[in-house]
Each structure stands twice: as structure tokens, then as C-alpha cells.
Symmetry: C2
Subunit: 242 residues, 2 copies
Amino acid sequence: MSTSTLPSVDPLDAVFAPVRSVTALEETVERLGTAIRLGLLPPGTRLPAERGLCAQLGIARSTLRGALLALAQSGHLYATRGRGGGTFVADPQPPAAPPSAEVLSQWRDVCDQRMAVEVGIALLAAERATPEALDGLADLAGVLDELLEDFGSYRQLDVRFHVALAETTGCAGLVASMTEMQGAMSGLISLIAHPPEVLRSSNEQHRQLLGLLRRGNGGGAAQAMADHLRATEHVLAGLLPV
Amino acid sequence: MSTSTLPSVDPLDAVFAPVRSVTALEETVERLGTAIRLGLLPPGTRLPAERGLCAQLGIARSTLRGALLALAQSGHLYATRGRGGGTFVADPQPPAAPPSAEVLSQWRDVCDQRMAVEVGIALLAAERATPEALDGLADLAGVLDELLEDFGSYRQLDVRFHVALAETTGCAGLVASMTEMQGAMSGLISLIAHPPEVLRSSNEQHRQLLGLLRRGNGGGAAQAMADHLRATEHVLAGLLPV
DNA sequence: GTTTAAGGGTCGGTTCCTATACCTTCAAAC
DNA sequence: GTTTGAAGGTATAGGAACCGACCCTTAAAC
């Protein structure tokens, strides 16, 4: 019998939960695909040559080629042969695939994990972000104001804003966590209509957050980030079951 | 040229970082080993039978047996045959291995990631934890006060406290993240001397945190958790390079 | 002493990854 | 316009991990 109205979560459930071994090919498709979909690798970008890239990733070339083939077949990449050729990010990108049923059924967990990571990053940023880094973030917010009419562009720059915030912590692992979370959320966010007034208010929250970061108010920044993300969750709660 | 004094962190570094495919056997050893070392599976515990456990984990029995063999050889488990037999957590546990050079060199990243996750969880808990769940946490804090002289027992219950806090969010993924973080920190924490007065002050912070959670003060709880974890980091900073 | 539930062990087949070598294309350099 | 070199494209062989099914051994319960 649980002492809480929340679904009870036994830590041993996590210990004995199914273990899925992720193959190198899957990991590679996931990493490159997420980077492309988030705009970290903008259309037209040329990837490093296969022979160099597979060395950098620490995998065999045939494995890397499998991943590149998958991304080419899904329309995210294309390759040209011959000297001066290479593998490029497609322009334009293929239409985003709708989120899988599996993601939709676990959307609350995804949101919660993002919330935790971003809130923690906000607090760390309040202690570590240099004034110069905050100026850069303010510049990003300024550009975002110009994109209220074009959600596609807004979303891409919004990702950059959040990732740049993670960068101010100086912790590579947190930057990776942030990009992973943004990738996990992208499908859900694409479900929502984002009229300009909503984006304006969202960007207003960005500025408010920056103010708190400048004052070094960690607790306030954490709360502000939570409010910022909650806005999205409220809309999702109205669209999705449970 | 960087605009920050922190080491610059390019998000593309994460995209092109080496990809290591983790095998099912490694994952299983990691999961069970961490659960045992953290005390989530106390000495004497009987694990589910191999045939049932491998089904639960979604792996082949031979793979599971490889993991159990590794943990038996390292002294964490032992097995008895015949009816009424099974695989049990060893009592006493083998002495903890000193942290690897790899962990020591990245201890700041480990601390930062734990900080982010725990701070985020603290904020979520401030909104979701039921009074009953907080009572349970207060009880844990009470028991901790009795263990100031025995760091081994204190640490195990401290882990339970933090994991139980994660449970109040109702998000299984966050509970898993918390146990993972506690596992990653355990080697580092074992390096530090923990006299009773330090533990008393640490548990005082637990109570302070609970007070903020009870008042639903998310930002304050986040800040309190940050201060709580910072105490450990300060000591580590005095012991470890960079 | 038979039954039963547990761990211990073996073997063939499959998928994935690695490593290496070689081929094809094509733009830039000469 | 020929050469050349850097890029993608192909083929193959070997190894590592995983799976699934089978049988053996042990020891408590009946």
C-alpha cells in the first residue's frame, strides 16, 4: 500500500528493468539524426569525410556507412562522389516524422526528465555564467524576437539558446544531456500550435531568466526555468491522454 | 577565442564524440553491481531465479549468467545449488575498490551532472511530494541522526534518502537517474573522511530541505539541495587535482 | 526414493562489428 | 587535357556478443 497518490515507483523496478543493448549503428543514427533535426548541423553542412569520421567516432567505416545510409534514405543526408564531394545535410530537410506511439505514451516522463535537467542547469548557470556568456544569450533572445512569425526558425534558435545555457556550465556532460533532452522533446513540441503571442511570452521568460542569472539568483533561475517549461507541458496535457 | 574563462564546450564535440556500444552483459553487471554497492540490494538478499530474471531483463540466460559470474568472482554475489538455492548478495560485501583514474580525472563533470539532476528533482519534489511522503523522508532523517558514528550505515541510508526523494516525483526515469548518479559518486565519496559533526551538519541540511519542500518552495529547495551537495564538492576539491 | 526447483554447462546459429583491401568517381592542379 | 588525389562505394573474412534450446548436478520437500 502506497503512501502517495502518485504512481508508486520502486527503485528496484529500475534495477530489474529490461536492459536494451544499443548498437553502435543505432547510436550513430540517433546522434547524427538528432543533431540534424535540432539544427546543430544546419542544411548544407558538410560532414567530415567518412574515413576521418569513423576514426573520430571510434567505429568501423562500414558501421558508419550503415548509419549514413539510413540517414540518406530518410532524406536527412545526401552524398556526392569524386574529389570535392562528401556527405552533406540535405536542404531542405524532410518533413518531421510524427512522434511514435511509444513516445506519446511516456510523454510525462520525458517532460519530467527534461524539467529536472534544465532546472539544474539553470541553477548552475546562475553561479558560473560569465557576463559575456550572458550577453551572448541576450543576443540570442534578441534574434528570437524577430522570429515570432516563423515557428520553424524560432524553434531551432530556441534549441540553441537552451544548449548555449548548458554550455555556460562548462560541463560537457550537461551539454550532451541538454541536446538529448531537446531531441526527445522535439517530436512532442512539433505537435503544438505556436502562435506569435505564445512565442513572445516564451521569449519574455527567456529574458526574465537571464535577469535572474545576471543577479546570480540560482533558486530564482531554477523556478523561472520550471515555469518556462511548464508552459509547454500545460499545452501538452490538454492534447495528450493521461 | 572564447568569451569565457571556463573551458569552452562545443555542442558538436558531443555529436562527434566516440560512440561506445554498451553490451547487455556490461549493462547488467553495472546495474546489479551499483544496486548492491548502494545497498538497494542488502547483503543476504536473494535475487530472482536466473530463468525468471533473464526474462525480466529481456536477455538470454547465458548473458545473465556471465554477469552473475562476474559479480560472484568479485565477491559481490554467491550462488547455492539445489532446491531452495539461488543467487544471494554476499555478506559481508567485499571492500570497495578505489575509484579508477578515469573517474578521478572527470570528477568535476560527475559532480556537475549529479548537481543538475538532484537540484531538478528537489524542485519537482517541492511541487509533488505528498505530506505522507515527506513524513517518510523525515523518518529517514531521524534514523540518520542515530548513525553519525558509523559512516558506512549512514551513507547507505543517505542514498535511500536521496532515492526516496526522487521517488516523490513519481517519475521512474528520475529514480533511475538518481541511482545512477549516486552510483557514480560512491567511489568519490568513499575517499572523504566523514567525522560525526560533518554528518550531523549534512543531516541538518536534509531537514532544512524538507522544510522547504513542505512549504512548496521549489526555488528554495533547489538552492538548499545545491548547498547540500556543494559541501561534498568543496572537500573533494581540496583532495583532487584541478 | 521420487519429485521439484534451483544453479551449472554445452553447442549451434545469428546478428553485429571490425579490419582490410580494392574499386569508382570527379574536380582541382598542372 | 592529363594527372592526381580525395572523396564515396563495394566486398570479404574474421571475431565477438547474444540467443535459444538442451541436458546435467544439487539438495530440499514430500
